[in-house]
């Protein structure tokens, strides 16, 4: 059949039109006309406008185009727009190619002639390539909207609550025998978190009473298989490992939280249990249970040292929350008795949230001393430190409270192997990208929230939980099917020698080995289409849909002309 390729050049208002000779471009692309190919060159003022879109939609049909090339802005901006137009006009959207003549031509080349020349070359590449593109079909598959949440701390609870409804069940598993995680021990939340202890209790009550949330306490993950929309999960009882539950879910949220590091594991902290040295969490527990903070003798401390940044140098990260909660604890003491002398030792103050500064000033006003130090040594009840001025000092305190760094919950490593998500250098779960995708993981449909991803406070954890819920809600809409990545790899059976190189280089576990045939195969549901496996295969036994070697090569040749 004769190919009829529409080449639509968008003027993008003056953005493109003023930078190159569009008519010259339209004239020159006609060189592709041949016995088998007919080029339909057309320009338009603004293809992404309502009129533009309507025009394109109708024109594709009217001209009976078999392929489409749109030369306009960056595909980052309007690729989807034009793909949708193709769909509306019954043209397979994979028979279309977008050429970026705005960001990468018009805006970077001031010389009008040169810009025109480059645009022509660029568009020619697209025309050559599009002829080698093939139809691809978006394969819709059923998806389960239900979600598994691992971890019953505040992040897990919030995730469950923001997801569960009539049409979306949530299974919440918790390793211990109660919900709430670390925060359940907090006497108070920080001022900006508004509520008192009730806040946690209320959340726990809410999650417990929600009939769309099924809670399994003392339960852990044994196995998880599958992909976004279709995971098969086996859970087991922590105490009786034969007691198993099998469920099917569509997405998983890892909210396994943190623990405080053991302060004595750091070289500058030495004390015995009998010494009056406590971790921040121990103080919170004591305060919650007894309503007061007392020495082991039962009497009230007269001098208290709060030491920040313990072990920060060794861990090589800032826990982000200690400064805040140490000030909160300082205020506990001051509320208990104005007489208690409280000194806070810090290396750097981390006050990232908008009202942290106010907290700091209020605490200072409350009579708490802040001492900036270079170095500190805790030996029993005595503190030796080097001040910022370089002077060495030595002081004894009735009570010392340390803020050890938060670290990944014990068992994180084990879970990472079961769920196949790598850990970062600190042992937290590795996100896809700290800036652009902090909740995503290597497996589509598995998310990380809260301190499982890295140190953060309750507010940020809540934020993450709610964000992930939003993501899941858009990805897994009850009753709707999902469309897995179309531009996946496929292995050509006849050529594969089963060397497993592709299997090694794939980060997504999307390639598995067929023992019977002795060849590798792609699990298209897991494939993200990066193409790494294709370049790893010396036999070219793998084909990258929509990015086949042939397609890329056509473009290269045209550009090299």
């Amino acid at each position: 059949m004769k190919k009829k390729i529409g080449v639509y050049v968008c003027e993008c208002g003056p953005n493109i039109a003023s930078k190159m000779h569009i008519d010259k471009i339209l004239e020159s692309v006609k060189s592709h006309n041949s016995e088998d190919v007919e080029i339909v060159p057309i320009k338009h003022k603004l293809l992404c406008s309502v009129q533009g879109k309507k025009f394109l939609e109708e024109d594709i049909k009217k001209q009976e185009l078999t392929h489409l090339v749109v030369a306009a802005c960056s595909p980052r901006e309007h690729n989807t727009t034009f793909m949708n137009i193709c769909k509306k006009s019954d043209l397979n959207p994979y028979l279309y190619k977008m050429i970026n003549i705005r960001e990468q031509v018009a805006w970077v080349i001031p010389d009008k002639e040169k810009a025109t020349e480059k645009a022509i070359q660029y568009i020619n590449g697209g025309i050559s390539r599009v002829q080698y593109q093939g139809e691809l079909f978006e394969n819709k598959i059923d998806a389960i909207p239900d979600v598994l949440v691992i971890g019953g701390g505040i992040s897990g609870i919030e995730s469950a609550l923001s997801l569960a409804n009539e049409k979306r069940k949530v299974v919440l598993i918790e390793k211990t025998d109660k919900l709430g995680g670390n925060s359940v021990f907090y006497k108070k939340l920080l001022p900006r978190q508004g509520a008192e202890k009730d806040f946690i209790a209320k959340k726990i009550a809410e999650v417990t009473n929600n009939k769309n949330i099924k809670i399994h306490l003392e339960t852990e993950l044994e196995e998880i298989l599958g992909f976004l929309g279709n995971f098969e999960v086996t859970l087991r009882n922590v105490n009786n490992k034969d007691n198993k539950i099998e469920i099917k879910i569509g997405a998983t949220i890892v909210a396994t939280g943190f623990q405080l590091s053991n302060p004595t594991s750091f070289k500058n902290v030495k004390y015995k249990e009998s010494d009056e040295v406590y971790t921040s969490l121990e103080i919170e527990k004591m305060f919650s249970e007894k309503g007061k903070i007392l020495l082991s003798s039962g009497s009230e401390p007269k001098t208290v040292a709060l030491v920040h940044c313990v072990g920060k140098d060794e861990k090589k990260y800032c826990s982000q929350i200690c400064c805040n909660y140490m000030m909160k604890i300082a205020n506990y003491f001051k509320e208990q008795s104005k007489e208690i002398k409280v000194k806070e030792f810090y290396k750097d103050l981390c006050l990232p949230n908008k009202d942290d500064e106010k907290l700091f000033r209020d605490t200072e006003k409350n009579g708490v001393d802040f001492v900036r130090i270079k170095d500190i040594d805790i030996q029993g009840n005595e503190i030796k430190y080097t001040g910022i001025n370089g002077k060495n000092e030595k002081t004894k305190f009735d009570m010392i409270v340390v803020a050890p760094p938060i670290e990944p919950k014990a068992g994180t490593k084990n879970l990472s192997q079961i769920i196949d998500i790598p850990l970062d250098e600190f042992g937290f779960f590795q996100e896809v990208h700290q800036t652009t995708n902090p909740t995503g993981t290597a497996t589509d449909g598995v998310f990380i929230v809260g301190t499982a991803q890295g140190p953060k406070g309750i507010s940020n954890s809540m934020l993450m939980s709610q964000a992930v819920s939003g993501k899941i809600k858009t990805q897994l809409i009850p009753g709707e099917k999902i469309i897995p990545e179309v531009k996946t790899s496929e292995i050509l059976e006849a050529y594969c020698m089963g060397c497993k190189t592709c299997l090694e280089v794939c980060c997504f576990g999307a390639i598995y080995f067929d023992e019977i045939k002795g060849i590798s195969r792609v699990n298209e549901a897991l494939c993200r289409g990066c193409g790494n496996c294709i370049a790893s295969c010396p036999s070219e036994a793998i084909r990258h849909k929509h990015f086949t070697s042939e397609q890329l090569f056509q473009e290269v040749i045209e550009i090299l002309k």
Partner: protein
């Protein structure tokens, strides 16, 4: 120090005696070795399962009709133990194949030996076979590599087997014709030899002697690399070397590393529509047909050079007489060096393209 079986007959007979014992006692199910197939001395590889047929083996024949790693690939995984007597480079080739899942070490007991080099097929298969071979063995009693072996053999530093279960001293062994020494390097080998009644001593390879050979081989390598050295930048010299390639791809078919069913460079990716070729012609004075003849060489280097074990098989089968192996060995050493990789050294080692290190080549890309 390893356990060494000593037998007071010549090396071949000693090995034969050992093999006969193992085969007749069902300790092993077969022996894979070079064997003589006619009176002219022509050898092929055989898998022998009958004790009587063992007599035909020529375990140390200085010839490589096929790189044995190909054959080992086709007979593994073996369900019962098989002894394979192969040259050090063939063993390394097999290790590289196993890393690519093209064979299995399971039930394969490897016997290898210090190798004096391989004669080109045409030299070995000549009418003077008997004379040439006996001269060969006479020469390698000393530390000199015979002049008529493959060019890469003269430059080979890995003449001592790297991972063999049993090692036999051939090159540099002046007692080759009177005594047999089988060095048992692994538990598997020692276990196998338990039932064999013999004198067992603790012995080490003669390091001084081996060093002397190595020194000479290093000099040989220098000489070879000088011969094929590329002295000026640019394509011209490269085209001089590979210009006569006829595109038969014989080199890749006999290569122990090239394991693909269909070489990428023979796939339809490299069939061009005539207009593409005509277009290319419009930019050039002339165009070679078939296209990509030389591209293939670079492409193959890219796919396998870091695993090249320098066996010389490619050079031997090249109908155009291109020094393929010498070039590939040299380039291969440079690519393997990037990753401190020595092909065939350890079956557990991962081939460089299957793994990454975060902290490497920091300067690249900046």
């Amino acid at each position: 120090m390893s356990k060494v079986i000593k037998i007071d007959i010549n090396s071949k007979q000693g090995l034969l005696d050992f093999l006969e014992h193992l085969l007749s006692n069902n300790e092993i199910s077969g022996v894979m070795s070079l064997r003589k197939i006619n009176e002219n001395g022509i050898c092929d590889y055989g898998l022998i399962t009958e004790v009587d047929d063992l007599k035909s083996i020529e375990p140390f024949a200085p010839v490589m009709p096929v790189n044995a790693s190909h054959i080992l690939s086709s007979i593994t995984p073996a369900k019962k133990p098989i002894i394979a007597i192969i040259k050090p480079c063939e063993l390394r080739g097999f290790v590289e194949r196993v890393k690519r899942k093209q064979g299995s070490m399971k039930n394969i007991i490897t016997v290898s030996y210090t190798c004096g080099g391989v004669l080109p097929l045409n030299t070995f298969q000549s009418d003077d076979n008997e004379k040439i071979v006996s001269e060969y063995f006479e020469t390698i009693k000393g530390t000199d590599t015979p002049e008529n072996v493959r060019p890469v053999c003269k430059a080979c530093e890995h003449f001592i087997p790297m991972t063999a279960d049993i090692t036999i001293s051939v090159f540099g062994n002046k007692d080759f014709n009177s005594k047999s020494c089988l060095m048992m390097n692994t538990e598997q080998a020692i276990k196998l030899s338990k039932s064999y009644k013999c004198e067992i001593v603790e012995k080490k390879m003669d390091d001084k002697l081996m060093d002397e050979i190595l020194k000479k081989r290093k000099a040989g390598k220098e000489k070879l690399y000088k011969e094929i050295a590329i002295t000026k930048d640019g394509l011209d010299e490269f085209v001089d070397i590979f210009g006569k390639c006829i595109g038969c791809h014989g080199c890749s078919r006999v290569c122990p590393i090239c394991y693909c069913t269909l070489c990428d460079f023979e796939s339809s990716n490299y069939d061009y529509k005539v207009d593409l070729i005509e277009n290319e012609l419009s930019q050039k004075d002339g165009l070679r047909l078939p296209p990509d003849t030389i591209f293939f060489q670079l492409g193959r280097l890219n796919h396998m050079s870091f695993s090249c074990i320098g066996c010389g098989q490619c050079e031997d089968v090249c109908p155009a007489g291109i020094p393929v192996s010498s070039i590939f060995k040299k380039v291969g050493e440079s690519t393997a060096e990037l990753f401190d990789y020595i092909p065939g050294k350890d079956v557990e080692e991962i081939i460089p393209v299957m793994m990454i290190k975060e902290q490497e080549f920091p300067e690249v890309g900046e």
